[in-house]
């Protein structure tokens, strides 16, 4: 875990991604552009009903066919990229910042606070994550805000523990000891010296968690417990496809493609980043 000491993370230097990382980066860039420019890329209005032309296969005007209400599937999938990425990036970003703060506090703060935080974080991560998510959704009711909250709560413990472990090892490093002897205050040590050194591994873990978050969003939206229809989400489009599986299989097949490509893209990119920056970092299944 002391790897950040020998190779300080520098966000400005482009890491040398392997071929897998480059494939991932290209896929991720494609989906980011798709999400950003959805209104211009989508050939039709994703919410416009056209019941006369429902459940069509691919045609010239509807490249990926239409759903059970005659909405254009391709347009819904392009807008779905916006939903998926907006939720995934907001929630992992938020969880990363909170986890960073909690981890620094636990690692550098007083012993008793560390004990309390570790117990809370351990309890939170001892819940099977899906059960916890469903319990929170029952209490708050489904919706995009609940979904983001759930993902943030699930992700915080892992990030906070990573940062805490990094902070604990870094605290004993010579350069921190030297700073302290020279009279630097806790705030200065935390922000100027610890923060830049512990943030590297967090960035890698965050990027490796994005696909898991995209899967969770799609899964919960599939169960109708995430993004509410008619807002297009890959999950609820998959559900529409499932209900009309026997009449028009094109819908379910088409809806799975962007989901699979984006999770593969983010995973490849995360792996590439990890290999380039910190190969010893271990990642647990989630």
């Amino acid at each position: 875990m002391s790897s950040a000491v020998d190779a300080p993370f520098c966000p400005l230097r482009l890491p040398r991604l392997g071929p897998m990382g480059i494939v991932g980066a290209v896929l991720v860039a494609t989906f980011l552009l798709m999400a950003l420019f959805a209104p211009w890329l989508a050939p039709h209005d994703p919410l416009k009903l056209d019941v006369m032309n429902k459940l069509q296969g691919p045609t010239l005007s509807h490249w990926a066919g239409t759903d059970q209400l005659g909405r254009d599937t391709l347009s819904r999938l392009i807008w779905g990229a916006r939903t998926a990425l907006a939720i995934a990036l907001t929630s992992t970003g938020l969880a990363g910042v909170i986890g960073l703060i909690l981890g620094l506090v636990a690692g550098y703060g007083p012993r008793w606070l560390d004990g309390v935080l570790v117990l809370v974080l351990d309890s939170l991560s001892s819940l099977p994550m899906i059960m916890f998510a469903l319990a929170v959704i029952t209490v708050l009711g489904p919706g995009t805000a609940t979904l983001i909250l759930v993902i943030v709560l699930i992700s915080i413990p892992g990030y906070a523990r990573l940062i805490r472990a990094q902070t604990l090892t870094m605290k004993a490093a010579d350069f921190i000891q030297a700073e302290r002897t020279m009279g630097a205050g806790s705030v200065r040590i935390l922000l100027r010296h610890l923060l830049p050194n512990v943030v590297g591994p967090l960035v890698i873990v965050l990027s490796m968690d994005v696909p898991a978050v995209i899967m969770l969003e799609a899964g919960l939206s599939y169960l109708n417990l995430g993004v509410k229809p008619p807002t297009p989400s890959w999950g609820n489009i998959l559900y529409d496809g499932y209900t009309s599986l026997r009449q028009q299989p094109v819908l379910v097949v088409a809806a799975g493609v962007p989901l699979v490509l984006s999770t593969i893209g983010f995973t490849f990119l995360g792996e590439g980043l990890r290999d380039a920056l910190d190969p010893r970092l271990k990642v647990r299944p989630r």
């Binding site: 897998m20 570790v118 117990l119 809370v120 351990d122 309890s123 001892s126 819940l127 099977p128 994550m129 899906i130 059960m131 916890f132 469903l134 319990a135 929170v136 959704i137 029952t138 209490v139 708050l140 009711g141 696909p211 899967m215 799609a218 899964g219 599939y222 169960l223 109708n224 417990l225 998959l238 496809g241 499932y242 599986l245 026997r246 299989p249 379910v252 097949v253 799975g256 989901l259 699979v260 999770t263 593969i264 983010f266 995973t267 490849f268 792996e271 647990r284 299944p285 989630r286």
Partner: protein, 316 residues
């Protein structure tokens, strides 16, 4: 070892109590009372009053909390809002289905994953190794419920080889096995990827050990060395990850069970969430958390028994 065991079990108990407390607090944080939320806007006052009395919501908070804890410890997890059946009974009825599904998924994933991991080590550094690496990462990346939907479409709807719904007839082993194949395939595929990578990585570490060099010096073949001498050591981290992975398996089981309408913990809790059936959601979450803690603690104790170094650093 005894000190370690007491500390580890103690921690599990403390965590379980924290979780119970948090769950109970969560119900109180809801705007509005759980009874009217569960019954919806069209509930009559009489119906609401009856449910409030039945759930004990008319009693003071500390009495409610005490009852909740006392009942939970005695195995009473409350009653279904709609069917009035005991929650624990409903859980125990479907729990074996989920357990069988998880075991089947892990079983085939373990066999194939370990085999692929060994192959990658045999041909390390070659094209085969690279291809297996890409294959395992892709397997990890694909969401299991998409695999479930695609395999449902191909093998159940188009080819009509396997059933699309349910868990098979009770008592009919053939139909139960046939109904488990597709869901177990969908859940296991991620694990083939994980295990192949894990076995490869830990095996490469072991290959540098002295006893492997000795085996080479004796002139044993590479395949024999890998299977008889390296795999024994390399399998230990795999056992450790299997326990932690139970949470991940459960996660995919929730989605995959829904896709195949297979009775299980996943279908039980998701239908309860949709109907805001609090006692079922809370009871199932508590039950699965307790079970998960049991599995993880047991695995930690087994690993500590096998590897004395673990005992010395307790949650560092």
């Amino acid at each position: 070892m005894l000190t370690y065991a007491v500390k580890r079990i103690g921690l599990a108990v403390v965590i379980l109590f924290t979780v119970m407390l948090a769950m109970y607090a969560m119900v109180f944080l809801v705007p509005g009372d759980p009874a009217s939320l569960a019954l919806g806007p069209r509930a009559t006052p009489a119906l609401k009053a009856e449910l409030i009395a039945r759930m004990g919501l008319d009693q003071p908070v500390h009495v409610q909390a005490w009852n909740f804890f006392a009942n939970a410890l005695q195995g009473n997890l409350g009653y279904d809002v709609w069917s009035k059946k005991p929650v624990l009974g409903q859980i125990l009825e479907v729990f074996p289905n989920t357990l069988i599904l998880g075991a089947a998924a892990l079983g085939w994933a373990l066999v194939l994953g370990v085999a692929l991991g060994c192959l990658a080590v045999v041909w390390r550094g070659t094209l085969v190794d690279t291809m297996l690496g890409i294959l395992s990462v892709s397997m990890i990346a694909i969401p299991s419920f998409v695999i479930a939907l695609y395999s449902l479409l191909i093998f159940a709807v188009w080819l009509n080889w396997l059933p699309a719904l349910g868990a098979g007839m009770p008592g009919d082993w053939g139909s139960q096995i046939r109904a488990t194949i597709l869901p177990a395939f969908a859940i296991g595929i991620t694990w083939v990827g994980y295990l192949a990578r894990l076995v490869r990585a830990s095996m490469l570490e072991v290959m540098g050990a002295n006893h492997i060099r000795t085996a080479r010096a004796f002139g044993l073949g590479e395949v024999r060395i890998i299977i008889r001498y390296a795999l024994r050591l390399a399998i230990i981290p795999t056992v450790a990850i299997l326990a932690v992975g139970f949470g991940a398996i459960l996660s995919s089981a929730v989605f995959v069970e829904t896709v195949f309408s297979r009775p299980g913990i996943g279908t039980l809790i998701t239908s309860a969430v949709a109907k805001r059936n609090y006692p079922v959601v809370m009871g199932t979450t508590l039950f699965m958390t307790a079970f998960y803690l049991f599995v993880v603690t047991a695995a930690d104790l087994v690993i500590a028994r096998l590897d004395p170094r673990v005992r010395d650093v307790f949650r560092g």
